[in-house]
Amino acid sequence: MAKVEKVKTPKPQELSQIDFKPPTTDWMDTPTVIKPGNFCWGGKEKDLLTLGLPNPRQWSPADEDWKLPEGWESTILEGMAERLAKYRSFKIFMDICVRCGACADKCHFYIATGDPKNMPVLRAELIRSVYKKYFTTSGKFLGKLAGARELNEDVLKEWWSYFFQCTECRRCSVFCPYGIDQAEVTIIGRELLNLVGLNIDWISGPAANCYMKGNHLGLEPHAITGNIETMCDDIEDITGIRVNPTFNRKGAEILFITPSGDLLGEPGIQTCMGYLMLFHELGLDYTWSTYASEGGNFGFFTSNDMAKRLNYKIYAEAKRLGVKWILGGECGHMWRVLSQYMDTWHGPADFLEVPKSPITGTVFENASSTKMIHISEFTADLIKHKKLNLDPSRNDHLKVTYHDSCNPSRGMGLLDEPREVIKAVCNNFYEMPESTIREKTFCCGSGSGLNASENMEQRMRGGFPRANAVKYVKEKHGVNMLANICAVDRAALPALMDYWNPGVGVTGVTELVANALVMKGEKERTTNLRFEDLPGKGGDE
């Protein structure tokens, strides 16, 4: 029943006729329509080949024929059986949902579309119905009465449509009385889809880049150093100070890893300039790596195995370079992977030491096993110990609010550290309403690999609840800057703000830090890191 909508010119009388009758069909009988603007392009043949993923071919979700491999039904069902045996989470989440509806209106995609299949409970039911049919007694005998249905191509297309309309943000899981986590269901749903070659280009492309070249953007080693050189030039223009980062340097104390989104494109690069300035000012003995040049992990949106393959580089490179510990930049899902998966995959990291700030002497016992800490933890500690000379008035033209990224909040619990940092470097900070921040934060609508451009409308919808909360503080307090600690946010939120709240900018927290940071021997700054005049210090005045 899944069908692709063809663009046809309606007759004039059709135009004026508006269908007021809502269909009353049961969700199982409601076909999934695959419409332009609402989906991402399919994964490319070459990328699937690079990654060794099944069924590489050129295909388009807009076509009727998705070129599924022979016997795909049994591939999917065997895949389900395997995952039921491997993941207690999957098995339990399939079995115990009582459909109480507590999660229903918690999903940003549901809130913006009203499409019932975007209710987390129904999104899970898409796969649960198939589970019931093939793996439970009641489903086998009672069929539809028990909520069971056959697996067929329409069902598969429906899965594809809705599992790539979930950003794995875990907001529903917070409200579920049994902790059923739709992110976990989506992760496994996407794994199953990948078994028959159904990924999206925006995920498999970056994953392939990351596998071969070390980062999602596919920056080769000289491009990485080149880009950072350019940033250093800019820093010199702004501050008069030359920072000299090193790359792949053996024997450094710290390996620094950040999402490659920070190396290219605004406002990521300003966040990156922030890291460079902060580390220079501290005299930190650290190195970048061109091999482990990606903190994020688009493999995580493909399959567990793929996530593991991409994540390998971090510990491997730390070991090769002989560093003592690892410092991680601002990124969302990167930190879910680092805090809940990396050590299990590639630990124990016994070749590293428990992170200890060389500036304050603070030992980060909370990372005693992974040996990797978050830049916000690191900076908050510096600020607490008054190790930074800060002039928050340089950020006085900003009225800042803070967007908690889904993964650091619900997959880690990093809530107060960035706030401590922001409050120390900005004089005007305003929180959004309580039901939209911290562990209840609304997703940017573009997470989990959905920040492509072909699905822009979908992204604008998915991000609407977040934008709506920003609008509230914009109107109430005049907020004009949305701070965050996530590279996908920095890539996706500018478009979201331009559309819903024009005039609200987007910034990484470390950019705010660097703007407020008074560096030793710097010249008087007249602009911020974006080359915008600082208030009261503008060159033209």
């Binding site: 809502p22 579309t113 080149g226 290219l264 822009m456 609407f464 709506n468 500018p494």
Partner: protein, 184 residues
């Protein structure tokens, strides 16, 4: 003319607004569960919220014969929502014309008695004006969606353009979003 249309509309404002809202909600057949209508929380239901707030201010602007631009910020909000919700342009903007139907149905008796026809005609032509405004906004929104893609690409390739000295050739002011905002 013994009864003023304005008075009548004011009298029936609540009914007309709620029917108007209801009719718009019916353009969301997918919202089979009536979420947009029922959830009152402005943060949990931003779509319904935008409509409720917007329709009222538009209606006010129409009956108070205000300059239509005063109702526009909220019209803007509504159309922004409609523009990304998977509607054809006709369907996205049909909600404005529905108002005519609602008003005519509510004032059926008065119309039959031919008490308000002139005024009604002028009121309806204001709705037409509103529709034209709405059309402008809608087109702007759709253009903006394409522009967002372009801007995003620009931001992504910022470093490269700069390195190739391409960025400096374009004065920064020209690419600032403020230029796009001025026209409605």
């Amino acid at each position: 003319m013994d009864k003023s249309l304005k008075g009548l509309l004011k009298e029936k404002k609540a009914t007309i607004l709620s029917r108007w809202f209801g009719a718009i909600m019916e353009s969301y057949p997918i919202d089979i569960t009536g979420f947009f209508q029922k959830q009152e929380d402005m943060f949990a239901n931003p779509v319904g919220h935008a409509f409720k707030l917007g329709l009222e201010s538009i209606f006010e602007a129409l009956i108070e014969e205000k300059d239509l631009s005063e109702g526009l910020p909220l019209l803007d909000d509504i159309i922004k929502v409609r523009a990304v919700q998977d509607f054809t342009p006709a369907k996205a903007l049909s909600f404005i014309f529905i108002l005519k139907k609602m008003v005519r149905e509510e004032l059926e008796k008065e119309i039959r008695q031919d008490q308000i026809s002139d005024e009604l005609l002028s009121f309806e032509s204001k709705i037409d004006d509103l529709a034209l405004f709405a059309f402008n906004i809608y087109v702007k929104c759709r253009e903006q969606i394409n522009q967002l893609k372009v801007d995003e690409l620009k931001r992504m390739t910022f470093t490269l353009l700069k390195k190739a000295n391409l960025m400096y050739e374009i004065p920064m002011e020209e690419v600032k979003p403020s230029d796009q905002e001025t026209s409605i």
